[in-house]
Assembly symmetry: D2
Homo-oligomer: 370 residues x 4
């Protein structure tokens, strides 16, 4: 694997490296970590890879690796959003499969262009919606698909954070609050898309309409940092999607509740190793990661016995495990791919539009179409 | 105290009785528990009051009690919503102060009429928004008022229940899902008003605009049973109010989160004896009911040492304690009164209208005015 | 009901009053609240009872009440431990049933004397082991009795508190740390007996042997304030009983875990409205107070629907409800009585002896006999 | 790194591999995974290492690796307990540093022998007490060392499990319940030592005396499966150590509470990313992994921002990180080494003896000496 982005100061690059390598199916061997050659080499040292394979540009990496017998088999794109499309386009053109951080691109139009490149290249494309890699998220999806909840009626998905409640300082905060680098959505793109993908992933239902209120709460902020979105799903189910980066004290509180006519379930990312199921007769069951009550997919996604907490890195590694399977030519139907990419970017665009319309006194509900 | 409503099968009548008497400032001595004389007498037996003082109508009670030297000093109205206005009007006309269950009336127009009666009578009127009686809700309000959170930016208040996810059976469910007895709002009136009052109570801020999605989810239901409302407060703060009665497995999960530019706080009714405060510097403090970190109001509202759970009945008793103070001519500024009644009924009417507008493709945000 | 003790500054007197009156079966009408006539009258005012019925001594109360047509039917003893025996003896001699705070007496010898008085008088005697009044404690007992856990193998009961970690100041702390008023056991008598009673109550098994380590941790303390006791039950099951009053930050953390060969259960006083049941096949079920999964005894002990927290006062009221039933001549088999009193006092004496023996290098396990 | 043990069916081998490689300082390249050559090769495939480097014996590995230019730099011993001493002895004799799973050996005598070999070889020796690798355990230790709790008075450490409550079936259960392979201690050696090490690690205090009750609860079991041990620390502090493998439904519930005269702290392995601190003035603070309130050691031990759960594998990787530092010649004072090994084995022997003595009616407290 070669990495694009992830240079000094990056948060997500080292996480991709750990996740990719956890099951020893993938090894990080090269990177265009930065467009500054010295910084790229410095990153290589941090990652403990051969400095020869730290390239000053992705083009150099594609060329350099092609020239080797043991060159990279795919790229992981971990640069800021605005760079996702050019990176993916170039990698696909170089014949390399792509695993990209989310959101897929800066804009929905870019995502459409990307979909064209993916189709034309005929190469694997994956999107690291990490949270759908958690074993109990997989379990939730499997149970709903099997009818455990009956007809889904209501979905509440929330992603509260507080880290941007003050001034945006530091590399991570700066590009995320700069529309030129993050795209038109701030919070809605950065974490709202995770919540959106989680809701569609777990329920197996698509969102069809939105009513939205996106705000730039911190004075001077140029992108939204607080998002409240009402949802309607294809089967008529109602939904609420809340995402915020200004809720002081919230850390990474992604959580989802799904209610059907027979039962409801609750999962929370910060305590990811339990899933709560409530049935109409008043029973509450707690399902444990690694425990005996899991279906095959979730069971195969845990690496330790029950009671040994697994977390974010292991969930991320499950995404990489799926991608490795795809690279081997196997099926990995739960790996988020280009369809998820398109839906996520359409969600951002529609939420931004719906919020503007509502504030302009125009029609409330806006259709979400891909 | 005389009770209007609360006959056999009632849930809230016995609770009012326990709450009223907990501090021994008030005693239930009479009631028009039912319009059926036999049922009213049966209720009197349950309440262990003198059967002579179980009346077949409120008019009979007013007359009978007036004739006694030790007649009632006020009435508690615990009948279904549609009956609140006639009961309060009659009681006030009979010179009796009123403590009423919520919502205050069936419609906003009725609430306006009621406000006129209250003003004309010059008698105390209180509304039992129980949850604002919890010590840590009082503490939350006090801390926000003292500036602990800085400027309030975001409020999320939720009231999930699941008890109406199936067919509405039983006395409680039946009248609540019948618009003739509950008024135009179902869930929004029954529990949405609690959430609304809690949000305004804790923040000290008024809601000025709404964007709403109210649904009647259970097939055949005639009133809303699932409500999602986006809020805007007078200072520009954003808010979300979620209330539902079809979220299977949810019991009485009222909770509120308030975020300012300095700190945030979280309180949950089902674990009411802790309040979590998070500050911008990454600290988390847990405040305990009965503990040393409470301000005077909250401290005076607990009856046991810290670690001895107090709950719903004690919170309810705190509302009665306030009302008893008002009857004695003392100030009880935190007791919900006729202004709260008007705001609550306006909230119901506005939410219903806003949801209809949004679904009709009309303007999104609707002003809330009293 | 007449109260003995509970004068100004008392913690437990007002709690007894609320608990006694919650179901309106009992009314506090008289008291010998203090041996100081003025203080007794001051207490009467706090309790809002007729000042005429505030007596300067229990003897005066017995005489005064006997002379009335509507005199008291029983006494509640809420004075410090050393006073329990003389108060109970005198009340029984005056023909009055007794509901006493725990521990029953100062010493085991006193408890034996008390048992004689109770037997001779033929009057009801009850002991307010409050925690066994919680609905889910009753549910736990019922489920174990019905075999839900299989054979009980292990019991862990803990009662951590921290309020005596510093200097013992205030009325409550002072008498509890004075062996002349509390008896030979400090913590072991004050809260260890609650834990002991809870363990025997829930499991239906008697403790037969102890291995103990009791310490007076705070410098200068004259009674134990930290207790660790290993238990053996009549069926061979092992147990651990921990009680401490010097664990800083612990409030009133009584909790019990019982494990059988089929399942285990967990209950915690500070979150009293859930009971967790784990079965050998890896399932976890949460049982909710007020919910549909309760047996008849627990169901009848809740006063509100599920999700409305009930707490310590309601549990206490359940003890009074049992006592009221006994006064009416009904059965209340779960009310702790004189047998529980004897076992509790034997437990204190045996634990003190076992700890001394272990520290003296003598035999470890000591038999507990009544 | 070369691995000894960890063949097909092993639980801990793959975990060592993930932990060792997480920070890319160490790579698993060889193994004597099984004494069956075919099984050893099968394991190599699972671990994705060169099949040439899957050896049929540790001796073959030592020789084969020595012959390579890129041979292993140390061994990780993950075989059952009885094999730890021979494996470590042979590795040290071959000039290889050792990182061993716990407990260090089968018996205390073996541990003494091992200490001699370690001293003679002058090579690094580490013991994978995983739980002391958790960031918040490090934080707890640092805060106690800095005096945040004042003088430590009381320690409660518990390690409840339930997985051996039924018949011991499967590779993991079988050797752990066979004294020939596990040593004289069952539960006390398997998890009691973890609890013991955690207590000494966090407090910085040594245990000096024990009072113990060890039982073989499951019919037919040959080693203890339920352990209750009272402790006395060098400064006079009291302690309780509970470990059990028959507590149905308990998963891996290691937890520790330490109380001083100024404050107390609580940490639980199953929710490892928070540490609770309670101070004498009634304040409760929650410290978050990855958060701003951590000291340098804990901060450097987290790999993701706060709110991204890290768990058991990351804690384990922190132990490997320390060992890698030692291999580089750096200091890693928190890495458990041969002294910890000796203390752990002495603890097992003393607890077994103390329990037998107490049951034989002999002296209670037994000294723990190394």
């Amino acid at each position: 694997m070669g990495m694009i982005g992830g240079g000094p100061g990056a948060f997500i690059g080292p996480i991709h490296r750990i996740a990719a390598e956890m099951d020893r199916e993938i090894e990080l061997v090269a990177g265009a970590f930065s467009s500054d050659a010295g910084r790229s080499r410095a990153a290589a040292e941090t990652y403990r890879i051969d400095p020869e394979r730290a390239y000053p540009s992705m083009e150099a990496m594609f060329a350099g690796e092609k020239a080797r017998g043991d060159g990279i088999d795919f790229v992981a794109i971990v640069s800021p959003n605005y760079h996702h499309l050019p990176a993916a386009r170039a990698a696909l053109a170089a014949g390399l499969p792509v695993l990209s951080d989310k959101p897929a691109t800066s804009t929905y139009a870019e995502a459409q262009e990307l979909a064209g490149h993916v189709a034309a290249a005929g190469l694997p494309y994956g999107l690291t919606h990490t949270y759908s890699g958690y074993p109990l998220v997989r379990e939730a999806r499997a149970r709903i698909a099997a009818g455990a909840l009956g007809t889904v009626r209501k979905v509440v998905v929330e992603y509260p954070q507080g880290w941007l409640a003050g001034e945006a300082s530091g590399k991570q905060a700066e590009w995320r609050t700069d529309p030129a680098r993050s795209g038109p959505g701030g919070c809605i793109g950065d974490i709202g898309t995770h919540a959106f993908q989680l809701a569609e992933f777990v329920t197996g239902l698509q969102v069809t309409q939105l009513l939205a209120d996106l705000g730039a709460v911190v004075p001077g902020r140029l992108v939204d940092d607080d998002c409240s979105v009402l949802l309607r799903f294809e089967n008529g189910a109602r939904g609420v999607l809340l995402a915020s980066q200004i809720e002081v004290g919230e850390m990474n509180g992604l959580r989802i509740r799904v209610y059907g006519d027979k039962a409801g379930l609750i999962w929370k990312q910060e305590v990811p190793n339990t899933l709560t199921i409530n049935t109409l007769d008043g029973r509450t069951e707690i399902v444990h990661a690694g425990g005996s009550q899991l279906g095959p997919d979730a069971a195969s996604r845990t690496r330790t016995p029950t009671g040994h907490p697994e977390g974010y890195l292991e969930a991320f590694a499950n995404i990489y495990r799926d991608f490795a399977a795809v690279l081997r030519g196997e099926q990995a139907p739960l790996l988020p791919g280009i369809d998820t990419a398109l839906r996520g970017m359409a969600f951002i665009a529609t939420a931004v539009a719906a919020s503007r319309d509502a504030n302009d006194g125009k029609a409330g509900w806006v259709k979400l179409t891909v």
